[in-house]
Symmetry: C2
């Protein structure tokens, strides 16, 4: 089937202060949708028994999925922890795995954690004004290490890249970023599965 291409430009606002768009509805990822993603499942279930909450939001503008167009928007990751583990996005590979992504951080403090199938790990700090380039073939996850501020980035990737969430949902990342003695620390993920 032929893809429908955009013949018109777009003007969409993503507020630089809070990342929100007055023009579109964000997708919200609730804590209850993150079950199994965190190391400390007991604490997660305790937190959920007190009520659900939004962990992050992002925009999907439904761009035509072809290689000539770009998908873009903001992602807003709220502060918080599950036990010692900072709030984070699920993280994913692209379905077309060899496609890159660019993040431009406009607010907050955190990391972009990346790994490829072979097991190479990349960790980049995100602060306002920092662009982080996710090279082709790397799964990527945002991590918010601030106590009170959301981590907000503008992102762009090839519109046909697609999302593979399942690989990370079933295997996890090899590395985790947790708080130890008050500082963010990268550790091996004891739950990581090689297959």
């Amino acid at each position: 089937m032929d893809q429908i291409k955009n013949k018109q430009s777009k003007n969409i606002k993503f507020n630089l202060k809070d990342g929100q768009s007055p023009d579109r509805e964000p997708i919200k990822r609730m804590l209850s949708q993150m079950e199994g993603m965190y190391l400390d499942n007991v604490t997660l279930n305790k937190m959920l028994s007190l009520g659900d909450r939004v962990v992050y939001e992002f925009y999907d503008l439904g761009m035509p999925e072809n290689s000539e167009e770009l998908a873009y928007g903001t992602t807003i990751l709220y502060p918080g922890k599950v036990g010692d583990e900072y709030f984070m996005t699920k993280g994913h590979f692209h379905a077309k795995i060899n496609t890159a992504e660019i993040y431009y951080c406009i607010k907050g403090k955190g990391y972009l954690l990346m790994e490829n199938i072979e097991g190479d790990t990349e960790l980049q700090e995100m602060t306002p004004g920092v662009s982080v380039y996710v090279p082709p073939a790397f799964a990527h996850r945002s991590i918010n290490i601030s106590k009170d501020e959301p981590l907000i980035s503008f992102f762009a990737f090839r519109a046909d890249a697609g999302h593979d969430y399942k690989t990370i949902e079933s295997k996890g990342f090899r590395k985790l970023v947790i708080e130890q003695n008050g500082h963010p620390t990268i550790i091996n993920n004891p739950k990581w599965k090689s297959t």
Copy 2:
């Protein structure tokens, strides 16, 4: 020849206040390099006789030119006019013409002017927090309508898109944005050439 692909992530700062990177050197476009681009060539030459100046700066990170990677950076367009015509970038098509580009404005006030070969024109206002999507096959030019502030945007496009400056250098855009009675006004370009 095989393209070299990035196997590593990048962390490059582009300051949110002035768009400048402490990590890389920008490319500077001088007023003397804009000869023939403005309507009022007499005024341009008068200005140049008093001294040259930077009209805009942008970053080219030299990303590997393949379809799986992205080129990105900031563009900083200074305020000014040549006669009634606002300072602007040269504007260009992509060499791979059917590739899109995204701009995320972080400072200033201006427009993105776009047109395709068939003559469809798109004009989008740029203010802080506005993303403007340049659809595939549209030439694009930034225009700064502020009296005192630079127009600063973060941009991203497919790394193999390339630049075709020559078409616009020889034909011009069909439309121009000039100041009339103190207001930005879109007019037909009397110098536009159909061939």
